[in-house]
């Protein structure tokens, strides 16, 4: 879509450099001249917000790692040391823990936007799948990071999740021992989790690079889901139009971030994690962080452990297949009333599963969780394929420019 860069640096040094390594041309074609559909709404600013969150997490994480001690006997105290004695250590640590929350909030909005507007459909299947990989890496990184403070809930979480591997027939127990580096979660587990927690964000960053690259080949989808036909009429330049909009959206996101860090920093943290891990004392109520609750509810909803684990991973893996599950040529839910209805049902199901995941399991709740789990998979495996062929869609606009002008009847066409 962007094609070879036509960028020519103004200075002689710039031209000398550009003819040897066209890095400025890459930046120019990707972030300045890059054509952006003119009908994008604020849901399309989450790419910038997520980039910002990733950078914030990596920077604060690097600083925390300078003071953190990954050892079963020292880890908890080292966090305490960061919070009390390191200059602005409390700030960096609150930025990092609450940053994880906002990172996930942003990624969920970003993913739901992709589903709502059909951003996973041709030609963006690979772009979408890379996104699913990033999301999976994020959940792994978040889980590993949650273990590091070595609080009560860290320990319980590490035990529950690593124990999932023991559901694998025959080799399960060996795999669990291999993961733990011993016969139970302990010091060796913490050390390797720290190592991996430091590694994975850079893997995520690499996949983000691929994600942006793929995006810049196929171009952005848009709220009307019609492809760009005429670059002149349908698009605006990334800079200044998308840049300023993204910067504004990031500044609003920053306000939420600052609210969490400075005014309610412990709102989303589990109180139990301020108690040091003790293998003999399990918290009365083991719960993951909010962003993993729906998956936890799915895991608990299924009575068979192995099937539960398979369902847990399938709940994420199924996302990678939706480009082939939803074959309806109309992308945007704006023109798909039935899909739009089921989309919102799906959102309610996810929230419901999340709420159940946070509660102590009772028979009634487990039963509801089973219905909702069926609903979760039903949305992808039944509703999407069925609506691909049966839905009566509304007429889509001929072009992006037509869609924009239809919204503004007063503006005369130039």
């Amino acid at each position: 879509m962007s094609g070879p860069s036509t960028y020519v640096p103004k200075s002689a040094i710039g031209r000398w450099f550009e003819s040897r390594l066209p890095v400025m041309g890459l930046v120019h074609s990707s972030f300045i001249a890059y054509p952006v559909p003119r009908n994008l709404n604020y849901m399309w600013t989450f790419g910038a917000i997520l980039s910002f969150m990733l950078i914030a997490q990596i920077l604060t994480g690097i600083v925390l790692a300078m003071h953190y001690v990954p050892s079963a006997t020292e880890a908890f105290q080292s966090i305490n040391h960061i919070m009390r004695d390191v200059n602005y250590g409390w700030l960096v640590r609150y930025m990092h823990t609450n940053g994880a929350t906002l990172f996930f909030l942003a990624v969920y909005i970003h993913m739901l936007r992709g589903i709502y507007y059909g951003s996973f459909k041709p030609p963006r299947e690979l772009l979408w799948i890379i996104g699913v990989v990033i999301y999976f890496l994020m959940t792994a990184t978040a889980f590993l990071g949650y273990v590091l403070p070595w609080g009560s809930m860290s320990f319980a979480g590490a035990t529950v999740i690593t124990n999932l591997t023991s559901a694998i027939p025959i080799v399960g127990t060996s795999v669990a021992h291999w993961l733990w580096g011993g016969y139970a979660v302990g010091g060796p587990t913490l050390n390797r989790f720290f190592s991996l927690h430091y590694l994975l964000p850079f893997v995520i960053a690499a996949f983000v690079g691929l994600h942006v690259w793929a995006l810049h080949v196929v171009g952005q989808n848009n709220p009307d889901g019609v492809e760009v036909k005429n670059v002149e009429r349908d698009t605006v330049a990334f800079t200044p139009y998308a840049t300023i909009k993204d910067v504004f959206a990031v500044s609003i996101w920053f306000i939420i971030y600052v609210w969490l860090i400075f005014f309610i920093p412990n709102y989303l943290l589990d109180a139990d994690n301020y108690n040091i891990a003790n293998p003999l004392v399990t918290p009365s109520h083991v719960v993951p962080e909010w962003y993993l609750l729906p998956f936890y509810a799915i895991l608990r909803a299924i009575p068979n452990k192995l099937v539960g684990v398979i369902a847990l991973f399938s709940a994420i893996a199924v996302l990678a297949f939706i480009p082939w599950l939803d074959r309806n040529p109309v992308k945007s839910a704006k023109y798909r009333p039935a899909f739009r209805f089921f989309f919102w049902v799906f959102v309610v199901i996810c929230v419901g599963l999340g709420w159940i995941g946070s509660q102590e399991p009772t028979d009634a709740l487990t039963l509801i969780a089973r219905f909702l789990t069926a609903g979760y998979f039903g949305f992808f495996l039944v509703i999407m394929p069925v609506l691909s062929f049966t839905e009566r869609t509304k007429p889509i606009p001929a072009s992006i420019a037509d869609a924009v002008l239809a919204k503004k009847p007063a503006a005369a066409e130039a």
Partner: protein, 274 residues
């Protein structure tokens, strides 16, 4: 599809009912700690120095007999807290006997008077958690993070409101501690507590009216003791709260101005595109 919708609706109804039932059940068996007003609550709240000093007195005279408080003495002279003078802290530290972390040149572990850099030593009677657990059945927890390590279930929809500006609720730990200390409502059973989950608490009633003689004229009542110690422990767990809120306020004002300017810039830029 209609059948599916019906199933969904009934599931939603059952879900709401179950949720409501669960909540109702909880309140019957286990009352929630009452919500108090704290000087350090809300967006602008800061610690009340006099209250923290009283709370420290309660800790020193009562709690410290069983509970460790692993914070350095110097913390007591930090601004935004109990705010004792450095000399006061030096004198206070010297009244404690601290085990030196390193042996002397004869290879003997020895005790010496504390300095501001040392942590509060463990209670003399209980040199380790096992010794304390042998007496009480359960080791009294370290109080350095206690106020952040205790919360209670708020339930829907309250937990949503707790996050919102103006309604935010971060003082759950203080309310919990206050509730526990005032929850010994069965005089014949010193280990029965109204607010403790399951009511059977390992800590026998630790403090009652008149246990501590305040010097500043504050009435020596259990209500005051428990509020003061809860405030003190909140500070011990989060000594940077005053500074945190001050920086946060500045950051907020800056961001609102920045976001406002960016909004108008964005509007201006996009005018030409439509």
């Amino acid at each position: 599809m209609i059948r599916f919708k019906t199933a969904l609706t009934s599931a939603a109804v059952a879900f709401a009912l179950a949720g409501g039932f669960a909540l109702a059940q909880e309140t019957e068996e286990q009352p929630k700690p009452p919500r108090e007003t704290w000087s350090f609550g809300g967006m602008f709240g800061t610690y009340d120095k006099a209250q923290l000093q009283r709370g420290f007195q309660v800790y020193k005279e009562v709690c410290s007999n069983c509970h460790p408080l692993t914070i350095p003495f110097r913390t007591l002279s930090q601004p935004g807290g109990t705010d004792f003078s450095e000399d006061q802290v030096k004198t206070l530290a010297a009244t404690y006997q601290v085990t030196n972390p390193e042996p002397n040149d004869k290879g003997e572990i020895f005790k010496r008077p504390g300095t501001p850099a040392d942590n509060f030593p463990r209670p003399e009677a209980y040199p380790n958690d096992q010794a304390a657990a042998a007496t009480f059945g359960k080791a009294p927890p370290d109080m350095n993070l206690l106020a952040k390590a205790r919360k209670y279930e708020r339930g829907f929809p309250w937990f949503v409101f707790d996050a919102l500006p103006g309604l935010q609720y971060q003082e759950m730990g203080a309310d919990y501690i206050h509730a526990i200390l005032t929850g010994y409502t069965k005089p014949d059973d010193p280990q029965w507590n109204l607010y403790y989950p399951g009511h059977k608490i390992a800590m026998p009633q630790p403090i009652s009216d008149g246990s501590v003689a305040y010097k500043d004229g504050t009435p020596p009542t259990l209500q005051n003791y428990s509020k003061d110690i809860a405030a003190f422990l909140s500070w011990a767990a989060e000594p940077n709260l005053n500074e945190r809120k001050r920086i946060g306020l500045g950051a907020m004002i800056f961001l609102f101005v920045l976001a406002g300017l960016l909004y108008f810039t964005k509007k201006r830029v996009w005018e030409s595109a439509h």
